[in-house]
């Protein structure tokens, strides 16, 4: 903004006369640039040159970044398979909720996925839930961080309602709705009849494992009540090792979210046929939520997300347009900046009844 450092010159009337003959007077305000509001200041103003350059600069910077992020996003290979409907036998689809609730029905289902492009290891396996409100006020608060961390805080379940204690009053570990509703679908991958290992180690944040979930806290009374929510936990493994739980407990901020299931530590070649055996246990049918299995590689900007790239390109384009527009406007009707004749009181009042 055309910064021009101009220290305001001291006015020559009065003040300088006073200060030229130093008189001992306690009444007299002490001179300092701050108290006299005369600190040197730079007063940038919006000149056409500056504004046009600024928009131009933004355009020049944004378009390459947009292209880069778009290409990064394009380089990510992603396989998305929605299986919530397909995995229910056709004759049972009338009442999906009954199917999923029943302990009799067979929940296993097999899906085959084809790899469109080369996928470089590691390939991340996500499950995606739609219309699932992990951010619901009632849900998001229903946990006890202290209990998860410290063995001694086992009874610290006051915030976990309505899933804090069993019916006989002994505390549930881990308590709360979030843990209770743990996602429990499982996936088994095989490539050309050969099992493909899914690495489920280190899918949770290291900081969570080290500092948020206790090494000496073991599941207790979990899913023992009348109503079974989601997955169960092995009571012999400490919480800090229950990585699925830790991932699940990192609540999502949006109703559509993906959570890491595991990593496939092998490259996938184009046209590979992947077979997935899904244990379809989790109930999203009662609220019409979708379940998707996602395999994705990653890039410097993360997973497949065209938004940033497109937004950058759009804004870059708009800025370019604005810069050109302002330049043309400036050439067509140049304005003499700061012409006092524009001042309303210098105009003839009657001739131009405009507003200021």
């Amino acid at each position: 903004m055309n910064p021009s450092s101009s220290s305001t010159p001291r006015r020559s009337d009065g003040a300088t006369r006073d200060s030229s003959n130093p008189r001992k007077n306690s009444n007299k305000p002490k001179y300092s640039r701050f108290t006299q509001q005369e600190l040197p200041a730079c007063k940038p103003i919006l000149t056409p040159a500056w504004v046009i350059t600024a928009y131009m600069l933004v355009a020049v910077v944004f378009i390459p970044i947009g292209l880069a992020s778009l290409s990064a996003s394009e380089s990510v290979v992603e396989i998305v398979d929605r299986y919530d409907v397909e995995c229910i036998p056709e004759h049972l689809r009338v009442d999906k909720v009954a199917y999923i609730r029943s302990s009799e029905t067979k929940k296993t289902c097999t899906r085959s996925l084809s790899v469109p492009k080369h996928m470089k290891a590691p390939v991340y396996v996500y499950y995606q839930l739609d219309n699932f409100y992990q951010n619901h006020r009632r849900y998001v608060k229903s946990r006890s961080d202290k209990q998860l961390r410290y063995k001694s805080k086992e009874h610290d379940t006051s915030s976990c309602d309505p899933e804090s204690t069993t019916s006989n009053g002994s505390p549930i570990t881990p308590c709360g709705l979030i843990a209770w509703s743990l996602f429990n679908d499982t996936y088994k991958f095989s490539l050309a009849a050969k099992a493909l290992d899914v690495n489920k180690k280190n899918i949770a944040w290291k900081s969570d494992k080290d500092h948020k979930f206790g090494r000496d806290v073991y599941p207790k009374n979990f899913q023992s009540g009348g109503l079974i929510g989601g997955g169960k936990l092995d009571a012999s493994i400490p919480l800090s090792e229950q990585e699925d739980l830790i991932v699940w407990m990192r609540t999502a901020a949006l109703p559509t979210f993906r959570k890491l299931y595991g990593k496939i530590e092998a490259d996938l070649e184009p046209d590979d046929k992947l077979t997935v055996v899904i244990e379809n246990n989790y109930n999203t049918y009662s609220f019409g939520g979708k379940k998707k299995l996602v395999l994705s590689t990653t890039s410097w900007i993360g997973g497949k997300n065209d938004f940033v790239g497109i937004a950058y390109l759009t804004i870059g384009g708009l800025c370019l347009f604005l810069a050109i527009g302002f330049a043309v406007l400036h050439l067509l009707c140049p304005r003499n900046l700061g012409d006092p004749s524009y001042l309303s009181w210098n105009r003839d009042a009657a001739a131009r009844p405009t507003k200021l």
Partner: protein, 1109 residues
């Protein structure tokens, strides 16, 4: 009710409070409850307390209650600390006063005790230069005549010495007797009137007689005065502690509310309503969603049957979520800013008056913004526009004019010759000048004589006479009984015995003295007074034509005139009159009226000796100041007690009105109601017709007509007040001044009253802003005022620089505070649509609290250094003040702009965040931190864009705050137990985080900048134009060539002084025939802002609408 005080009686001292002075508002015990009570009287605080209490209910609170309690407690602590500090300082000064040692008689022995132990009835002894510790009735002094001198500056601000006398019954008591004196004083209950004390005293035997002796204010020594020029004095304590006259008059003035505060309150109210609407709508939607959708979401586990208050839970959650819409920090920020504005005024070197060594002072720290919105200035004349330093300039003795050529009679050779030649008329004239006054000459040790005078005019006369070799060298003797005045004339000492003083009152408008020439034994009556008071008393045989001409001529030059007269009294006439006079002066009923009547009997058949003309010079820079402020669109009214012709002359001299043909004076006068009504009607008619003319109309009204108008024709006068930019009201009383202020205020105008004397106090207190000039008439006005300045010319700086900057800064700060609160609130609201309308907070408690209290409050506080235009530019283009006056920077439409911006920014931040952080990245803590960072980034750019000038402090605050945000979050992110442990570190290592931030800023600021640039360049406001002009070619001097302006005014004055008597007789109406275009000037320095000349002046409400555009 009466108070009975027994002198020196130890037994009944407990009836009244002791002399402990306490100005404290609080004690240690009641501080907390009382202070909290005071604070909770504000609506905003009640609101925040309610919110904070609601947050304690964990079922509905979206965030930790600490996020509201923290700031609330900080805010309360800050206010309470400030109060406590003030109170502690008051306590210290009280303590100092209370523990001062004084001499008091106890059981007949003089003892040293602390001032706080004085009881009513004690006899207190004072020495020279002692401060009077409580209100005393004087009973003895070191002077044989029973007088003493006191300086009352601390009480009423008057710097001259006042004489106090002991009551007659106490005359002649020696100090031994005074130790044992017994008696009773009957006095009224404590009040705050420092000019009245109606009491009487009776001494018990063996002291003389037990006659009742009346006491007046002249027999008292009031608390906080100083004893001067008197070795000792003693008095009986009658009022002590907080019941003294000073203590009673101490009061907490009504807090004034600025127009801006009112507007901010209004906007707060609007936001509050908006919030209620949002809460109701979202609460309803939330309940619907809960009953339809949430029941299906099994993992939420809603119970089938909720408690009875279930329906309320979601709305209350939203209420808490939206409570941040009203920024908790705004009050504190504003208070902080306002006290800085006041400090800037105190510190301003350019408003330091080197002559009297007084800096400007803002006694009221809360109303600086109003200075920028002043529409009417009501000014006193004497001492405000003029210096109130009287200088004897001309005189007319026996028909001969002196000083007309040179302009200074003291240098007029003819007068000097006349004095040297002992021309009898001249000598008599000088004798009256020297003697007929109440001036007290004080001889210093070196022999030089200085004069203490209550009236500046008398001082001027005595000094002038001294220069003409007639020096008043001493007055001694009891004021009551007899005075010997000595004058030194050309080396020979003349002695006069002052027999009686016929005091000056504002009704009589003259004073007289009866003196006896000690050489010849002849008795003379010497009189001096206003022309209309003296001429009727003149000797019928004398030709007073020349004197009347002289008075007229002098008045037209703006000089103050006094007429002097004398008469020789016959011995028996005097003796006869003297009896009547003594009788009248000892009456208890209607004493003043009786005295006036008696005086009248003596004051007749005077021989007029001559006329003196005293100049009261205009203060430096008054015409320029008025010129500039009028250009700024401020209307001036002059309210003076002086006479019409003098007032008009001064008005012309200081650019107040223009002479013909540019300006026109319309007179409203008349003695009867009908005359006044007709006159008013005629003026109003002229005014209506000529409003579209660029002619400066002013009306002149005198006190008498005003009295009638304010009683009977208030509506017509109100219309006139709206139409007229200028008015001169002469011969008005203090209460009329206050009434006029009230009238303008009732028309919804912002008024500023400026004055210097005690007669302006009421007007100053009444006005929206009172400005006092710490002048020669004392500090009374300055004490009552919100601002005190040393000279009138500082007013332009006070208004145009301080007032304007304050307004601009507050306008920005307040709207910005709402903007940032709304921004975060809207993000929460949008988020609630993605969280099942359940009232989840996207942001954690720490972030929310820190956002309001630190991240967004601190950088914007540096707006206190922001200057949109340099001081010099503002002074050159005072018209720019219209932006503040009309409130164009803070009104519902500008506020709507900020509101819209906050909605837009909230959408930008939220949409970009959820799209960039979708799918696998949509972790709650991360997403909320991304959104918060987005807000912080935007804040920094918004503040940068909205500020006009950047000093190092601003740059540090804005970007330092930005860095501080990251530092604070890094620190919080490294605490393992914190919810956002490691979050900030994770984000900062992701390229997509930085890309998202840049995207938010670009999309958020791009359109704002484009719009701003477009407006700035193609639809610039006057401020923008001047900013550009400032940059492109430095200061511009296109307007106001002040010097040439001044010269032309001087010429106008000269021409008008001849024409004036003619134009006074009737209303001059040639304008009616002029074609409207003939006199219109296209561009000119004194062409007002067209707003002022628009017909819309008729209706103030319409006017306001225009201003709001």
């Amino acid at each position: 009710m009466k108070r009975i005080v027994y002198i020196n009686d130890e037994s009944c001292q407990d009836l009244y409070c002791d002399n402990r002075v306490s100005n404290r508002k609080y004690t240690l015990l009641n501080f907390l409850p009382k202070n909290l009570w005071e604070q909770f009287r504000r609506f905003m605080n009640q609101y925040f307390l309610l919110i904070a209490c609601l947050q304690l209910w964990s079922l509905i609170t979206p965030v930790n209650p600490a996020s509201t309690w923290g700031p609330l407690i900080i805010i309360f602590a800050v206010s309470a600390t400030k109060e406590a500090w003030d109170d502690y300082n008051r306590y210290l000064s009280d303590k100092q006063a209370n523990e001062k040692e004084v001499w008091v008689v106890k059981n007949g022995v003089r003892k040293h005790i602390q001032a706080q132990d004085i009881c009513v009835g004690n006899v207190v002894w004072l020495r020279e230069n002692d401060e009077v510790p409580c209100d005393l009735v004087l009973i003895g002094t070191s002077e044989p005549q029973g007088t003493c001198y006191v300086e009352t500056a601390a009480l009423d601000g008057e710097t001259d010495l006042k004489t106090r006398v002991i009551p007659p019954t106490c005359v002649g008591l020696d100090s031994e007797q005074l130790h044992r004196i017994k008696g009773v004083i009957e006095c009224p209950n404590p009040d705050k009137d420092i000019r009245r004390f109606v009491a009487n005293m009776r001494l018990f035997p063996p002291f003389i007689d037990n006659d009742i002796c009346p006491l007046t204010i002249n027999n008292t020594l009031l608390q906080s005065c100083y004893l001067r020029n008197t070795e000792w004095a003693c008095g009986v304590a009658v009022y002590t502690g907080n019941e003294t006259k000073l203590g009673m008059s101490r009061g907490i003035p009504e807090p004034k509310l600025t127009a801006m505060d009112a507007m901010i309150d209004k906007l707060t109210g609007a936001i509050f309503l908006f919030q209620i609407v949002v809460v109701v709508v979202l609460g309803f939607a939330g309940n619907v969603w809960k009953d339809t959708e949430a029941r299906k979401q099994w993992y939420v586990k809603y119970p089938e049957e909720g408690p009875w208050y279930e329906l309320l839970v979601i709305p209350l959650r939203f209420e808490l979520l939206c409570s941040i819409m009203i920024p908790i920090s705004i009050k504190v920020s504003l208070d902080l800013m306002k006290s800085l504005y006041a400090k800037f005024i105190d510190w301003d070197e350019d408003m330091f008056d080197a002559e009297t060594k007084t800096p400007a002072h803002a006694a009221n720290t809360a109303i600086s913004e109003d200075l920028g919105q002043v529409e009417y200035i009501l000014t006193d004349k004497t001492g405000t526009l003029t210096e109130n330093r009287m200088i004897f300039k001309r005189c007319c003795i026996n028909g001969i004019f002196f000083g007309n050529e040179s302009g200074d009679a003291l240098e007029d050779v003819e007068l000097l010759n006349a004095v040297a030649n002992n021309i009898p008329h001249v000598i008599r004239f000088l004798t009256v000048m020297t003697l007929c006054n109440t001036v007290i000459p004080i001889k210093s040790k070196s022999g030089a004589i200085s004069y203490k005078a209550q009236s500046q005019d008398e001082d001027a006369l005595v000094k002038a006479a001294a220069q003409l070799h007639m020096v008043l060298i001493g007055k001694n003797g009891n004021i009551i009984v007899e005075v010997f005045a000595e004058i030194n004339f050309n080396g020979s000492i003349l002695q006069y015995e002052v027999l009686d003083i016929l005091e000056f009152t504002s009704d009589r408008k003259r004073m007289s003295m009866v003196v006896k020439d000690c050489q010849t034994g002849k008795i003379f009556l010497l009189s001096k007074g206003a022309d209309e008071a003296i001429f009727p008393c003149s000797n019928s045989g004398q030709q007073i034509r020349t004197f009347m001409d002289a008075v007229e001529q002098y008045a037209q030059l703006g000089l103050r005139t006094l007429c002097l007269g004398w008469r020789e009294l016959k011995e028996d006439e005097y003796i006869e009159w003297s009896h009547m006079f003594k009788e009248a002066s000892s009456t208890l009923v209607d004493r003043e009226w009786r005295l006036a009547e008696v005086c009248q009997r003596l004051e007749h058949d005077l021989e007029i000796l001559g006329v003196t003309a005293i100049e009261d010079r205009l203060q430096d820079g008054v015409p320029e100041t008025i010129e500039i402020l009028r250009k700024a669109g401020i209307n001036f009214w002059m309210l003076t007690g002086d006479k019409q012709s003098t007032a008009i002359q001064i008005a012309l001299l200081c650019n107040f009105i223009s002479s013909e043909p540019k300006g026109q004076l319309l007179f409203i006068n008349g003695k009867t109601e009908d005359e006044v009504a007709r006159s008013l009607e005629r003026v109003l008619l002229t005014m209506r017709i000529t409003t579209s003319e660029p002619k400066e109309l002013a009306f002149v009204v005198d006190g008498w007509a005003l009295e009638i108008i304010l009683k009977q024709y208030k509506e017509a006068f109100t219309e006139l007040a709206i139409l007229s930019r200028t008015a001169i009201c002469c011969r008005v009383t203090p209460s009329q001044k206050a009434q006029l202020v009230e009238l303008l205020k009732s028309c919804d105008y912002r008024t500023l009253a400026i004055g210097d004397g005690g007669n302006d106090v009421r007007m100053i207190q009444q006005a929206d802003i009172g400005v006092g000039i710490s002048g020669r008439e004392g500090l009374q006005a300055a004490r009552a005022a919100d601002y005190s300045i040393g000279k009138f010319r500082f007013l332009k700086r006070l208004i145009l620089v301080h007032g304007r900057y304050s307004y601009n800064r507050t306008a920005f700060l307040s709207q910005y505070s709402f903007y940032k609160s709304l921004l975060i609130c809207f993000i929460q609201i949008i988020f609630s649509f993605l969280s099942g309308i359940s009232g989840t907070s996207l942001f954690n408690s720490v972030s929310l609290m820190a956002y309001n209290v630190f991240y967004t409050s601190i950088p914007v506080l540096t707006v206190v250094l922001d200057k949109d235009l340099s001081e010099r530019t503002v002074m050159q283009h005072p018209q720019i003040l219209i932006y503040c006056q009309a409130g164009r920077l803070l009104n519902p439409s500008t506020f709507a702009g900020w509101f819209g911006r906050s909605v837009y920014h909230a959408i930008v931040v939220f949409l970009i965040t959820i799209h960039a952080y979708a799918d696998e990245k949509s972790e709650m803590e991360e997403l909320s931190m991304v959104a918060l960072s987005g807000c912080i980034w935007l804040q920094a750019f918004v503040v940068t864009l909205e500020m006009n000038s950047f000093t190092i402090l601003q740059i540090l605050a804005i970007w330092g705050n930005f860095v501080a945000f990251y530092v604070i979050n890094f620190i919080v992110s490294s605490i393992p137990s914190a919810g956002m442990y490691t979050i900030m570190f994770r984000l900062c290592t992701q390229p997509s985080y930085w890309i998202t931030m840049v995207l938010i800023v670009a999309l958020g600021m791009g359109p704002v900048l484009a719009l701003r640039y477009f407006r700035y360049t193609y639809r610039p406001s006057a401020i923008n134009i001047l900013q550009q002009a400032e940059r492109s070619r430095g200061p511009i001097y296109s307007l106001g060539m002040l010097e040439s302006q001044l010269k032309s005014v001087e010429k106008d004055v000269a021409s008008l002084s001849i024409n004036q008597p003619k134009s006074r007789s009737s209303v001059y109406e040639p304008l009616l025939s002029d074609s409207p275009t003939a006199t219109r000037r296209s561009i000119g320095p004194s062409a007002f802002d067209f707003f002022q000349s628009m017909p819309s002046r008729i209706s103030s409400s319409y006017m306001r609408n225009c201003k709001d555009n």
